[in-house]
């Protein structure tokens, strides 16, 4: 009786199913905690504002950073929590952790997601600055409709690529 129960417990797919689910739940809790923690979010926003300003200055603009606001004589953008890509990155990481695969592919996925979403987010902020300067009437739609959707498809496509290429690649016999 005890033996059969032990065997039954061993056969539970806890390593393949429950550990990833637990990991994803922890990641979701971490995401909620980070988003609610003002010092951490403030640092992320200021950092992103500096990177955006640096990129714009490389492209020939003269922007300055004050807190999390990037501005020039022409236009200014403020990086708020929703602009940091935190939610997209967090959801990407939850999907990577929840996927039943080894630790090495998961690390590759996490690296891809963090780097990919960060880079695209910088492109997004820089493009919004350009739109604000040259097409201000189009700014709201670009900010709220187009870039939000592009971020979503980018994260989903990156995850699919990771799942197909790294997480699910056939083993050599």
């Amino acid at each position: 009786m005890v033996d059969s129960r032990k065997r039954c417990l061993k056969s539970l797919p806890y390593r393949r199913v429950w550990l990833p689910v637990l990991g994803a739940a922890c990641m979701a809790a971490l995401l909620i905690w980070i988003a609610g923690d003002e010092p951490v979010m403030g640092a992320v926003q200021r950092g992103l504002a500096r990177v955006t300003s640096g990129t714009l200055n490389l492209l020939g603009h003269r922007t300055v950073v004050a807190g999390s606001t990037v501005s020039s004589g022409l236009f200014g953008i403020t990086v708020v929590t929703a602009c940091t890509g935190l939610f997209t990155t967090g959801l990407f990481l939850i999907a990577v952790i929840a996927y039943p695969t080894g630790w090495k592919p998961k690390l590759i996925g996490a690296g891809l997601g963090l780097a990919g979403v960060f880079l695209l987010n910088v492109v997004r902020l820089v493009s919004l600055y350009y739109i604000g300067v040259h097409l201000p009437g189009f700014l709201d739609a670009a900010h709220q409709l187009i870039w939000q959707s592009v971020l979503i498809v980018f994260a989903v496509a990156l995850w699919l690529l990771w799942a197909g290429r790294w997480a699910h690649a056939p083993r050599r016999v």
Binding site: I32, K104, P105, V150
Partner: protein, 206 residues
């Protein structure tokens, strides 16, 4: 560690992204026509829910074009604007529809059925988001008395509601297409394995 997959999977993902972007572009163009109707539906469903949660009734909801305005009852037959949800609050309709249209391996009927279910689910989530946002704002401003637990964790609840709002389209899409993607992924793996075996058989790897 892992062998890089063939270009089939990459093409499939690129095609998915391209269709998504195309559908998004069309829906962005149509958003000014879609948004007022959608906002009216959200406000219509949220109204009884808000009344159910508030005793005595403290809010008036009004769909004004694509925006939803929340007024607070401040006296007998007197209301004051409290907050509003702009015309982009419910933008998630666009990526959700685009994700479902772009998903490979779904027949027309299945796709249409999933589109209907997805929009229904998103509408309910948006109704919940609107009601929760308003009630949590009242609690945060001290307009509604709350218990000590809720008072301590109010910030976390607000962030959780925001995360749910943000994650809703992707979460609904995953739930509705998980089986399809599994089939597509399995098909792609089988194809790659066959390719791998055939290249080994003819000695390409030697």
């Amino acid at each position: 560690m892992a062998r890089i997959a063939g270009s089939g999977w990459m093409n499939l993902v690129l095609r998915f992204a391209a269709i998504f972007l195309l559908v998004t572009a069309v829906l962005v163009g149509l958003w000014s026509f879609i948004a007022p109707g959608y906002s009216a539906a959200v406000a219509g469903l949220a109204r009884p829910l808000v009344h159910l949660m508030e005793a005595p009734n403290a809010s008036v909801l009004e769909a004004r074009g694509a925006e939803i305005w929340i007024y607070r009852i401040v006296g007998p037959a007197e209301i004051a604007p409290f907050t509003w949800f702009d015309r982009y609050t419910f933008f998630a309709v666009i990526p959700l529809l685009a994700l479902l249209v772009a998903t490979p391996g779904l027949g027309w009927w299945r796709r249409l059925a999933r589109l209907g279910i997805a929009i229904g689910a998103l509408l309910l989530i948006h109704v919940g988001y609107l009601v929760a946002s308003v009630e949590l704002s009242y609690a945060a401003l001290g307009l509604t008395p709350v218990g000590p637990f809720l008072a301590r964790t109010l910030d976390l609840w607000q962030v959780a509601v925001r995360v749910l709002w943000e994650a809703a389209p992707v979460a609904i899409w995953i739930l509705l297409t998980l089986g399809t993607w599994r089939r597509v992924l399995r098909g792609s793996r089988g194809e790659r394995r066959r390719e791998s075996l055939s290249t080994e058989a003819i000695g390409v790897n030697d």
